[in-house]
């Protein structure tokens, strides 16, 4: 049986990036601080993974101010949603094949 391993997206090999995509898949937009709390990672760690996802155009960033506090919000792009969906399909195939 041929495994669909080739279709696993390398961008999601990292659990932090996988977690970001999973969270954004169920919530339309999430703030940097909220994501950081959920993933239990440091500012720098989350920021660097976010940069990767932004460069791949899987997430979109919006920056604004609430009063004087800067706020960074993220949403998943259509490209990101498609890539994440295909990654999940590939995961499913691997798990099915392994049963």
């Amino acid at each position: 049986m041929k495994l669909g391993v080739g279709k696993l997206n390398r961008a999601f090999e990292n659990r932090v990036r996988l977690g970001i995509m999973a969270a954004l898949a169920v919530r339309e937009d999430l703030e940097f601080t909220g994501l950081k709390q959920m993933l239990e990672v440091t500012d720098g760690n989350l920021a660097s993974h976010m940069t990767v996802l932004e460069q791949l155009r899987f997430v979109r960033v919006r920056k604004d101010f609430v009063g004087r506090k800067p706020r960074t919000r993220y949403t998943m792009t259509e490209t990101g949603r498609k890539a994440f969906g295909e990654h999940l399909d590939a995961l499913e195939r691997i798990i099915r094949a392994g049963q």
Binding site: F12, R15, L18, L30, G34, M38, L91, I95, G98
Partner: protein, 195 residues
């Protein structure tokens, strides 16, 4: 099979994050019990006030109802904060925001509707309206927290509809909906989720 193990671990990580992003899990059964007791106390005071003052008691009773609501919210926040601390997550997590919004919209509409009923003197519909709107709010919020909250919401709606048939029995329906139902829910929640 490292590929399989990895895949299964990835799946667990995905599931955890989806749940964290969409659900508020710092809910305490003790909140339900305490809110129920507060509501029973409130309805007792309200019925005493109405027996003593009749029609003149409307505004004091409204004030009392608002005070009960504030106390109930305070108690819920207090017990949720304790659970959040135990789970080592912040109280104001993304799921909490989702629950707050899910509750706020039906409750604001219900509050406005009850205000209009009160202003027009259609008092017989007040308790049914409170139960129905509160039930819808809970049912809605159940999408973003433990699913049993949806069942509690449904119960409140059914009680509200029943209360519409017997407006004179408002004390009974208030006590059942805001008192007994909360306490029963609280006990079930506490036993199931150990907190």
């Amino acid at each position: 099979m490292t590929g399989l193990d990895n895949g299964l671990q990835d799946l667990t990580a995905i599931r955890t994050m989806m749940e964290r992003a969409s659900k508020f899990l710092s809910l305490s059964g003790l909140s339900g019990i305490a809110i129920g007791v507060i509501a029973l106390g409130g309805v007792w005071v309200a019925s005493e006030m109405i027996t003593a003052q009749g029609e003149n008691a409307h505004w004091p009773v409204t004030f009392l109802a608002l005070a009960v609501l504030v106390c109930a919210l305070g108690v819920a926040l207090f017990f949720s904060a304790r659970i959040a601390k135990r789970r080592a997550v912040p109280l104001w997590e993304p799921g909490a925001r989702a629950v707050a919004w899910a509750l706020a919209v039906p409750l604001t509409a219900g509050g406005a509707f009850c205000g209009i009923l009160l202003a027009q003197g259609t008092n017989g519909l007040l308790v049914p309206a409170m139960l129905i709107f509160y039930g819808l709010a809970l049912h809605n919020a159940g999408n973003y927290t433990v699913s049993e909250v949806r069942a509690l919401g449904g119960t409140e709606v059914v009680l509200g509809l029943a209360a519409t048939f017997w407006p004179s029995a408002w004390v009974l329906f208030w006590a059942l909906g805001f008192g007994v139902a909360h306490i029963a829910y609280g006990i079930l929640h506490y036993r199931k989720y150990k907190g």
